[in-house]
């Protein structure tokens, strides 16, 4: 039996673990699910005969080495900063590894050692990053194969709420790690436009947005996502003047979130002394330049809006003007905001989420300019088997299957940008209901 070790049994693990267990009989897999909470792991394995659910602390060296050395492949859903602990052991014991996270510098630095160990550490193999790479590379290589010259590449993705369950003024609920949502946009976004660099500092990421019309899926707001320049070389776009990756939200979200950023509530860099004694309203007051008027009026004036407008109503709806104690000790502003949002933006029982991905590629072929649109919409099954968990988890599961079957020749620290990965992965994802619509103009 081949042994698969899944590290983490949180929000995005449900489909991944179900897929692995569903296929475990046929492929003769033993699936170990390891989480800090053994109960959470057990909830996901449901005592499947080919499963083991264990309580596990990645920082426990002995446990980590024992589990990783016994595995054939490790799928890590750990928080991004912790992957490196598993990755180093994977190199040491010659085990392959798959994650859905951005490859950070520490992971990238393992490339040579991973090649030497004859293993692949496959990163960015979830939704975004993940399915975006698979689908973009398939499209780009098809266009190039036909002789086309890529003029512009734009790619957008968002984890949203299905319209039927969209019942709050933000039109947003959490379907993945809330901390990542709260801390989004804290680095300068970078992209390329008409051959020139474009930089957007954190203070402007949520105000410098564009409106995206994604055909039958509707209209969205897009903010620039991280460093698009990172993908020039992997995507082979060295001669393409426009390259942008964006994140989608419902229209109106970004303006209101920008208010929270401007106010300072997304700040995670300092702990507020005696934070547990602050009410939400006092927290807001501490960031306002003026202490004189009514807090709501002062806030509206500071934000350049009025208490009657939608952007202000979103803030108010969160309860940020309430004299309620959050009770968090040693908390940063971002931690307090996250606690409040987790209450307000909870995906309730029976509610479905939705993910939207949209590529827009302009290219020249036969002397004419073409525009290729490729869009994906996936709706969740329920509040556990979400569209987010499906689109993050299944690519990792399929990639792991391909690697275990010896069908992936690449070694070292890699992204899923090669046809031996993206072709079979996209084929199987299509069978599983993750299917792009294409439109050529």
């Amino acid at each position: 039996m081949k042994k698969i070790l899944v590290l983490g049994a949180g929000k995005s693990s449900s489909y991944l673990i179900r897929y692995l267990l569903d296929h475990s009989g046929f492929h003769k897999w033993q699936v170990t699910v390891a989480d800090f909470s053994g109960e959470l792991a057990l909830e996901k394995t449901k005592n499947h005969p080919n499963s083991r659910a264990i309580a596990f602390n990645i920082k426990d060296k002995a446990a980590r080495e024992s589990e990783i050395s016994a595995a054939d492949i490790v799928i890590s859903l750990l928080p991004p900063t912790l992957h490196i602990l598993a990755a180093k052991d994977c190199v040491k014991f010659g085990k392959n590894m798959v994650t859905a996270s951005y490859a950070n510098e520490a992971i990238k630095a393992l490339d040579r050692r991973a090649r030497k160990a004859g293993i692949i550490i496959l990163n960015e193999c979830g939704l975004d990053p993940g399915i975006d790479h698979l689908s973009a590379m398939q499209l780009l290589n098809r266009i190039r194969w036909e002789g086309g010259k890529i003029l512009s590449f734009k790619s957008y993705c968002g984890g949203l709420i299905a319209p039927e369950f969209d019942n709050n003024p933000w039109h947003y609920k959490f379907t993945w790690n809330p901390r990542n949502v709260v801390l989004a946009g804290q680095n300068t976004a970078r992209y390329l436009e008409d051959g020139a660099y474009r930089f957007i500092p954190p203070s402007r990421i949520f105000s410098q947005t564009e409106l995206l019309y994604a055909g039958k899926y509707g209209s969205f707001e897009a903010y620039a996502n991280r460093d698009s320049l990172d993908y020039i070389v992997p995507y082979g776009l060295e001669h393409t003047p426009t390259i942008l990756r964006g994140t989608l939200r419902s229209p109106g979200y970004c303006k209101a979130w920008d208010h929270l950023v401007k106010l300072g509530l997304t700040d995670d860099s300092f702990i507020i002394p005696h934070s547990e004694k602050l009410t939400y309203r006092q927290l807001v007051q501490s960031f306002l330049p003026s202490t004189e008027e009514d807090t709501g009026q002062a806030l509206a004036a500071f934000l350049g809006t009025t208490t009657q407008l939608d952007d202000f109503k979103k803030i108010k709806w969160l309860g940020l003007l309430d004299e309620t104690l959050h009770g968090l000790e040693n908390a940063t502003p971002a931690m307090i905001l996250q606690k409040l949002l987790e209450e307000k933006w909870k995906l309730q029982k029976g509610e479905l989420d939705m993910i939207i991905m949209h590529h827009e590629i302009k290219y020249e072929l036969g002397g004419k300019e073409h525009r290729l649109l490729s869009s994906l919409k996936v709706t969740g099954e329920d509040e556990t088997y979400t569209a987010m968990a499906k689109t993050v988890g299944l690519p990792m599961a399929i990639a792991a299957k391909l690697i275990l079957a010896g069908k992936v020749a690449h070694k070292g620290v890699q992204l899923p940008i090669y046809s031996d990965l993206y072709d079979p992965m996209l084929d199987e994802l299509k069978d599983l209901g993750i299917r792009f619509d294409e439109k050529e103009e």
Copy 2:
């Protein structure tokens, strides 16, 4: 002979080294000045018979251990992140240490070991932090000794250009580490006002300023400096509702600097690929939301000003709209900005700098509210023996002398907030021309 090891022979070392050498005969000191550049060290020691000038790399463990173990006290002018290397060896070899830098977490963590080793690691013993602590604590303790109750404590300091040599539109020139000036205000400023926390995120530090009237020394702009809450306990201000530390600039500076922050030019978090190929103008363009108009017009519109106004003229005067190559490879935006500012804001031969410090303390005594103003102005001697070097260096030199003479009983990681430090230090500083003016209202 007592051996004094001075680490670093840069901008702020001139007075310190001169003081130590001037007093070396009387006190029987041997002064070793160690710098990465042996020449720079020699420039400062000028072959004084009681001096040694050496080329030295703090990261060279053998050299570091050999020098520190041979010294009686170490005065570190290293960049703040490097003090810890010297501090650990000081603990190991039982040597006292003095710095002018903020005590960071790594240094603070040495407290117990330093006490055990019977040494003092005296931080924040320059100008700001430094003379501010000495003078504030002397004033506060005098008021408390008389039975006064402190209602408000505000303290400001700025390193500026003497009015006679103020010949650029920013009214500013570099007199200390340019990098620190460029990266100022990149953390949320924190203070206390009327018993409530006040937080100012980095994006607003240079717009949320106050105008300070410092009596005969003129008017200045003050922006909130770092974390004033850190000084509540050391200053004994647990029951004082208003506590603020601010940094002074000439009026108009902050608004123009705020433009650079908003634009993104102070960003030090990412390296621009092929940065050496960018002109200053292209760098500015990459941060502008609009690419359509003339860059100057687009910049003015983005900043909410016009090309005719002073704030815009300051930006233009720097050359940020010029098609000039800066030539820096692997540079962050902040590194490019710093290079430009080092050319434009250079203190030229014969030009004098000026430092201003100003405390404003409100207190209640005998049923009446009092307001005590205490101000300091120091003008430099020339472009090397600056007011900045004098006020940063002399406190360290005097503190080192007191410690070597066994007159400081405190051990561990400390600030200069005790009378056995501030009384003799302020007395001697007064003799050396660093003298506060007091005014009571």
